[in-house]
């Protein structure tokens, strides 16, 4: 029994890593096409792309080890005169399975300790020191900034400095944009994107995660366009970016990207295309068939190692 569980765990985690490497390596092939789509759709598709290795490995493992499913996809064969349905099992899987599981848990716990815990504490402190102004919290600082913070019950923060230097139109645009983040649960999506790629090196996943962030921002820009013109939203982005140019501390720089410029150009570029439901159905169906087709060869491959 322990052999079977260890092999199943090793299979699942191993497949997750292998499929992850394949999906990250093949991402450049689909990137340009994905980023041309409506950002509401592309942000979901990007998250699905990140989830594909984990979901795919779960599906394949389920087909390998659940007898009722395995009988449809694994060619019937016998071992030592026993012909009943079985999942591949090997006695040496325990140590590698524990090793892989340890690695995945370590990456998740490390990320949680380094990133999430301090951010969560800070969010609580900001709520305590800010004043409630209707649908947002006003930060007592002259630095121009606005953001949405939190996963399950995100809160909108806008600084005093920003409200004092923006027109009512700008504030409407900022609030509509940030409400968009709240409605779409974008911070929770970023968390999922991180969780699904936690076992992989940051440098491998950074491009996909960055594109996902950009798509979420662009989706919220389009939500702001429901009340204001695209040029108005672009104008607010430029205005806030100018205010922040002066507030940037010397020498501070993270992964510098050009999201703001891309967002402005997208707003001025007209309506992006959407993939039809039929196309999405065909793509999803093809992927499912591909995963199902892998079950039999993976079963024999695992038994060959044994």
């Amino acid at each position: 029994m322990i052999e079977l569980i260890a092999t199943a765990m090793l299979t699942e985690l191993g497949l997750w890593l292998v499929l992850g490497v394949i999906s990250l390596a093949s991402y450049p092939m689909i990137r340009t096409r994905l980023l041309r789509l409506h950002p509401g759709q592309s942000s979901v598709l990007l998250l699905c792309w990140l989830a594909l290795p984990f979901i795919g490995s779960l599906i394949i493992s389920a087909f390998l080890y659940w007898p009722d499913l395995a009988m449809h996809l694994v060619e019937s064969h016998c071992h030592a005169n026993s012909c009943r349905q079985h999942g591949p099992s090997t006695p040496w899987a325990l140590i590698p399975a524990m090793g892989l599981l340890g690695w995945v848990l370590f990456r998740m716990l490390l990320g949680g300790y380094q990133k999430w815990l301090p951010a969560w504490r800070l969010a609580r402190q900001l709520t305590d020191v800010s004043k409630v102004r209707g649908s947002y919290y006003e930060l007592p600082t002259q630095v121009a900034t606005a953001f949405t913070m939190g996963w399950l019950h995100p809160k909108i923060f806008i600084s005093q400095g920003l409200t004092e230097q923006c027109t009512p139109n700008d504030i409407t645009c900022i609030l509509d944009h940030e409400q968009g983040h709240r409605q779409r649960q974008d911070n929770l999506r970023h968390f999922l994107a991180w969780l699904l790629t936690a076992p992989f090196l940051q440098s491998w996943v950074q491009q996909v995660q960055d594109d996902h962030r950009l798509a979420c921002e662009q989706a919220c820009d389009l939500l702001a366009c429901e009340r204001l013109s695209p040029e108005s939203v672009a104008g607010t982005l430029i205005h806030v970016a100018r205010l922040q140019v002066g507030d940037c501390p010397t020498g501070s720089s993270a992964f510098a990207n050009n999201h703001t410029e891309l967002r402005i150009r997208a707003l001025l570029g007209g309506q992006p295309e959407r993939l039809k439901l039929s196309t999405l159905t065909v793509i999803s169906g093809s992927l499912l068939l591909l995963l199902a087709a892998l079950v039999n060869p993976i079963h024999y491959l695992l038994e060959w190692f044994h």
Binding site: V129, A146, S252, N257
Partner: protein, 140 residues
Amino acid sequence: MFKRRSNSNTLPQLGGLELNVLEVLWAAPGQGAKSVLQQLPDNQKPSLSTVQSTLERLHRKKLLTRSKHSHAYIYIARVARTELLGRLIGGVIRQLHSGSLDPILSSFVDFADGMDDQTLDRLEQLVQQRIQQRTEDGDD
């Protein structure tokens, strides 16, 4: 690899009750635990011993000074409200710039974009051209 907790922002970690106690002492310095308890918001009335522990903790974090009057301590805030809030918000802004809050936050304009005035001028021109084009198309 494992950062010290106090590196995550520029303040010692402060909970909601600690901030409320500080607000009471900023409004009226030189109070003991009983009078601080009386002035806390009605929806946040802990026990006297909890307030005493909180005052003790804030004293250990060097945010309060105290002196003994008969059997009780009297507390005064060491750091002014504006300074403390300034340090807290400054810490947030620094973390916004560094991107370390990315996991839990979505900014309206990402500080990490690092845009310069020339780029912004160019983009503003594009917006104006687009508005002009729209107006002309509308006139047609």
